[in-house]
């Protein structure tokens, strides 16, 4: 492919005791793509993206973002360098207002107009009318959207979404797909997702993890046709 590489991981490894959560993974992201990361429960998806975002320290291997080695860069510095992570288990600030949640993301990148940029990020996920509400009182689906809005508000070059549609209603999932489509090609999206409809709809490329290693990588059509993936994951 002629696409420009945004991120490359080589030999990325993280073991927990004897458990090989992520084991010598090579992985490439092209600029502006939506790339899905799939695999059975416990395959190591969250651990893998945690290595990319810096939440979990790398044991061995290397990560490059636009050619720059970020393997040892602390998590907060990686966020400033353009890698945003939205948590699998929603972690909004429950005691703060919806506005403050997003404003924290906006001011982190040093926005010129805090209020306007915050409201704009809320509008992208349709939460602008709830800006004054206490985040902890939002419905579960709205909290997930708020989490996404915080990621968007960082204006990342790479947005990592960890199972963003988990627990969302069908209508909410449809709206969510539109939100993600609007992110590219200005930014790149790495999407961990169990819902195969969402994956097949959105992703241009898919990487399948199993037992901490890459089982397959390719276009949706290639992945669908892959025998090994079918046995391990898609259930034949």
């Amino acid at each position: 492919m002629a696409a420009v590489s945004l991120l490359e991981a080589r030999g990325l490894t993280r073991h927990f005791g004897g458990l090989k959560a992520v084991d010598r993974v090579d992985f490439d992201l092209a600029e502006g793509e939506i790339h899905a990361l799939i695999g059975p429960n416990g395959a190591g998806k969250t651990t893998f993206v945690s290595l990319l975002s810096g939440r979990v320290p790398v044991q061995s291997g290397s990560i490059r973002l636009k050619g720059r080695d970020i393997t040892r860069m602390p998590a907060h510095a990686r966020v400033r360098a353009g890698i945003a992570y939205t948590f699998q288990i929603t972690q909004v600030y429950g005691a703060l207002s919806v506005f403050d949640n997003v404003a924290l993301a906006v001011q982190s990148r040093g926005a010129a107009d805090l209020a306007a940029d915050t409201m704009a990020a809320l509008a992208r996920v349709g939460l602008e009318a709830r800006a004054d509400q206490v985040a902890g009182t939002l419905s579960y689906g709205h909290q997930r959207l708020l989490e996404v809005a915080m990621g968007l508000a960082l204006r990342p070059t790479l947005l990592i979404l960890d199972e963003p549609t988990q627990g969302l209603a069908l209508a909410e999932i449809a709206a969510f797909k539109d939100i993600v489509r609007a992110v590219v090609p200005g930014a790149t999206v790495l999407l961990i997702e169990h819902n195969m409809d969402v994956v097949m709809d959105l992703a241009e490329r898919i990487t399948v993890l199993n037992f901490g290693t890459v089982l397959a990588s390719g276009t949706p059509a290639e992945i669908r046709a892959n025998r090994a993936v079918q046995t391990a994951y898609l259930g034949g």
Partner: protein
């Protein structure tokens, strides 16, 4: 635009304190001056504990840094009160940063213990250099050295107004801080450190910044206390003075701008009243605190904020 209720409330409190200058009987007048100075200390404590979530048991060290920087400069070097005041503020901030650089590598209970140890070391240092500090006995600062510009700090009226001036500065500064972007980040750090890190904030530097501001407040209060009440002694650096602001803040409402003043006020008069009733006044205050933690763990203003006054800063 909606009227700024928070600002009006705080200006109203300052106006009431000014009115009390004229209205309060002499006994309460002196008490209030002391309460305002201690409230500045508690406000500083609240910035670290109430807003940023740093439960320190060693703030007496920062208070003492201000107290002794001012007191020793005046007493031994013949410095004027303005210089001593500024030196006190800076000493509080500098000591807080120095302690923070080490203590902030820990969190939770370990942080409590490390800050407690630092303060204890500071207290023992003061006793060790008794030739300079006169240890427990302390230094009495002569009236002539307690002149701030043309103001005589040993005069009751002047002292009250200077205390009010410093308190107003600290209060409005505190209000501006918690409404600023950095104030929002302090609260974010308290609410969820991991989340804040993943928004690009370095927890260490944010906490160090908050602790530094907290130390500046404690230093200001310490310096003002020494110069206004003319006494600089090691008892003011003891662990009791680390617990005091914690109690004020818990009572008034952690994470509210007016909580430290209210807590200091209520606690002061509670102790005052209890000691007039019984020798066991510490028992009465202890019981009051247990009741507070059981029935209103958010403190007075924290409870009010939860019950509908959401706009309370």
């Amino acid at each position: 635009m909606r009227a700024d209720r928070g600002l009006f409330l705080h200006l109203g409190v300052l106006a009431a304190l000014l009115a009390l200058h004229v209205l309060a009987p002499p006994y309460h007048h002196t008490n209030l001056a002391r309460i305002m100075v201690l409230a500045v200390y508690a406000m500083g404590y609240n910035i670290a504990f109430g807003y940023t979530g740093l439960l320190s048991l060693g703030h007496a060290l920062f208070f003492a840094a201000g107290l002794y920087a001012a007191g020793l400069l005046v007493y031994h070097a013949g410095a004027g009160a303005p210089v001593a005041m500024i030196a006190g503020v800076l000493a509080g901030g500098a000591v807080a940063v120095a302690v923070g650089l080490l203590a902030l590598r820990t969190a939770g209970v370990a942080f409590m213990i490390v800050t407690l140890m630092f303060a204890q070391a500071g207290y023992l240092t003061i006793l060790y250099f008794g030739a300079w500090t006169r240890g427990d006995e302390g230094i009495v600062i002569p009236r002539a050295a307690r002149m701030l510009g043309g103001l005589d700090l040993s005069d009751d009226n002047t002292r009250y107004l200077v205390a009010l001036g410093l308190f107003a500065l600290a209060l409005l500064g505190n209000l501006a801080l918690v409404r600023s972007p950095f104030g929002r980040v302090m609260v974010a750090m308290r609410e969820n450190e991991e989340r804040s890190r993943m928004l690009g904030y370095n927890p260490f530097t944010v906490k160090l910044g908050a602790l530094a501001i907290s130390g500046l407040y404690a230093g200001l209060s310490g310096a003002a206390y020494g110069l206004m009440f003319g006494y600089v002694g090691a008892s003011l650096a003891s662990v009791q003075y680390s617990i005091l602001p914690l109690l004020y803040v818990l009572l008034g409402g952690a994470g509210t701008v007016l909580g430290p003043l209210l807590g200091a006020l209520v606690m002061f008069y509670l102790i005052d009243y209890a000691s007039s009733l019984t020798d066991a006044h510490q028992f009465v205050t202890g019981a009051a605190l247990v009741a507070l933690v059981l029935f209103a763990p958010r403190g007075i203003l924290g409870t009010l904020r939860a019950r509908g006054l959401r706009w309370l800063p």
